[in-house]
Symmetry: C2
Subunit: 427 residues, 2 copies
Amino acid sequence: MNYLENKLQEQTPTLQEQEKLKNIVSAIASDINAICKTEGIDATPLEVGSVSKGTNLKSSDIDLFITFSRSYPVEYIEKKGLEIGHAVLENAIEKYAEHPYVSGSVSGIKIDIVPAFRINEGERIVSSVDRTPLHTIYVKSRTDSKMVHDIRLLKVFLKEINVYGSEVAKSGFSGYICEIAIIAFGTFEKFIQYMANLKGKLIVPENCDKEFNEPVIIIDPVDPTRNAGAAVSVENLSKLKLAAKLYVTRREDILFNPEPVIKYDRKTIMKAFVLKKPDIIDDIIYPQAVRLKNRIWDIFQKSGFMPFSSELYMGENIEILIEYMRNKLPDAQKHMGPPAESNESIKFIDAWKGNSRLMRGPYIMGDRIYVDTKPRYTELEEIIKIELEKSDIGKNLNQYKGEIKVVSGKDVNKLNVAKKFYSKSLF
Amino acid sequence: MNYLENKLQEQTPTLQEQEKLKNIVSAIASDINAICKTEGIDATPLEVGSVSKGTNLKSSDIDLFITFSRSYPVEYIEKKGLEIGHAVLENAIEKYAEHPYVSGSVSGIKIDIVPAFRINEGERIVSSVDRTPLHTIYVKSRTDSKMVHDIRLLKVFLKEINVYGSEVAKSGFSGYICEIAIIAFGTFEKFIQYMANLKGKLIVPENCDKEFNEPVIIIDPVDPTRNAGAAVSVENLSKLKLAAKLYVTRREDILFNPEPVIKYDRKTIMKAFVLKKPDIIDDIIYPQAVRLKNRIWDIFQKSGFMPFSSELYMGENIEILIEYMRNKLPDAQKHMGPPAESNESIKFIDAWKGNSRLMRGPYIMGDRIYVDTKPRYTELEEIIKIELEKSDIGKNLNQYKGEIKVVSGKDVNKLNVAKKFYSKSLF
């Protein structure tokens, strides 16, 4: 398949580029070594990540670990890690994953310098970053140049179909999954052939008897209790299955030319809800944005506004789009009460007696009592406001509930979320 | 409970009225006897039904059977039955149940004269009317005057809550069920007490091990293979349960004063579908009318017009009312395709390629492929017409499909079905 090989060539670093990365790593590593020697710290620099494994695509970051002896307390390595990081990397900023670490760049190449404990295979890890060096050792010891090529090819393929990346907002396949898959299946072709025919969950190794609930189960070879595929969504698994089918049946016309159909004249009703994204990393904000979207959908649904599509976009702002059926509620809604035979039935009748919102009934349908009632509120924006006020939409978003801007009519089409909505295609 | 005893008194025939019925029956019976004697026919008149059992309410009909020897062929008793009927009843007309029979009136009292075979308990019946005399014998032999009183009381109670009557359109409790219930439970109070606490199906006798699917299972004492409660709907069973609860808790305020809430200003959309009722008995037409109503509801539902209430009225016309959300469809509908992993997925994509109705996609959501499409038709009346054309709505209604009148807007409120709709109350 020429298209894919072309893409791979475009994205494989040149020898010069690899050389440049190697030189940057050596220079920083020797700086770290020097500091450790001078200060008498039992720690060594260790290059990890795709660059170290040779499976990197163009413009990959460098991940450089400082692996400390396990005799140090966590607080020490966190403090020393930052100190050394700043010493070897000018203008670096501090970031926070499980430990704090420094992040900066040299000659345009992004570098993270991360402290971790030095762990041998089988030893207990302290935090999940301690596992990373083991991944590097595992992959390097089991791949030859053909497999490295196929790992890159798989990454390019997954990027093309938009399911590559382990960020929460992407919920895709990580680089490490690509490495495990090629090691497990031998070649790109064999893995894709397998995916084209797979029904249900993706489980690697196939004979694994571990119980995980996720749709993708990739047992981490260096830690069999961990599912390296836990973050992959069922949607992205489905995309890979379909893409694999298209690949093996040589349907490049669909696979690499999704050309989305865009028709703006849907004559539907749309509203968008926009709020500024707080200055917190996406992996934390994204699940809260999804929750907000689901909450707004539920309010539309329960109140009778009949939502039928939604979209979420996260850039500078969080933008949520809902496409729906009704702008205003009717003056009567069917309200289901208890079964006629239950002891609640008379209470229900008494509760509605004389209520000015009662439009019809109580009446019995099937085995239950119903009333038709005038809803308390009938205006959409009013209902959304009242309901969101009562809702927990996540630690970091709750405080911005009052600042959600409602966008209606043609203005919706100007938003990024509308572009994403209209251009929705297979991959 | 005075209210109910008052109602009972109002509806219990006076001694004179009972005397009058008795005299009419005697006169006709002796006429029948005379004919049979003259012509040498082995047949005898037999009074059946509530009048014969003394459980009748005011303005009950008289049911007079002519029971023929089983040695006659069916054709003979049908022919002779009509002949004798016409001979003893002036200006009678012929009707048709399982056998043809004659129906007329004397001094304002309606009389049916029905031919049947003379069957003893345990003998096989030829048609279901042959069972009727056995019911009469069973009830008369097991009831005293207190029980007759309580049977009438139960009938009045069921009439009050609008669940009395075995016609298909009513799907209620028959007079025979009332008789069995009082014989089984002893008194009205005990039966109502039982109903007030009943969960699930009504099964009489309680320890019955027969399997019937219906919500009400009343084993016919003269034929244990027959469910005498088969016609009762779950809705009417629910009404009786609730009414019994109200009765035992002395909530006459709800039970006998349903005073329906009527508010015409629902600000919803309604349409009614009206066609002339064919000249066929209600028991046959009613299920077809229900089917038509359900079919229209389904069309609203599937096409996206969002029905949320419906009502059926059957008088001179069949009137079907649908209350719903949308009058016109949006230009985009979500259309679900196959699972991405299935072999149909590529066919689905190919099928929609270049289709002018495609508004968005194909795209993957969860584990399936979807497209947003412009619906083929967007006007409600057009869709109803096209869909009904394709539908089987019953043997006797199919030919009138083209004549269904659609009523919209304020004109709907003038229809009987609208009155029924707005006045829907508990009983």
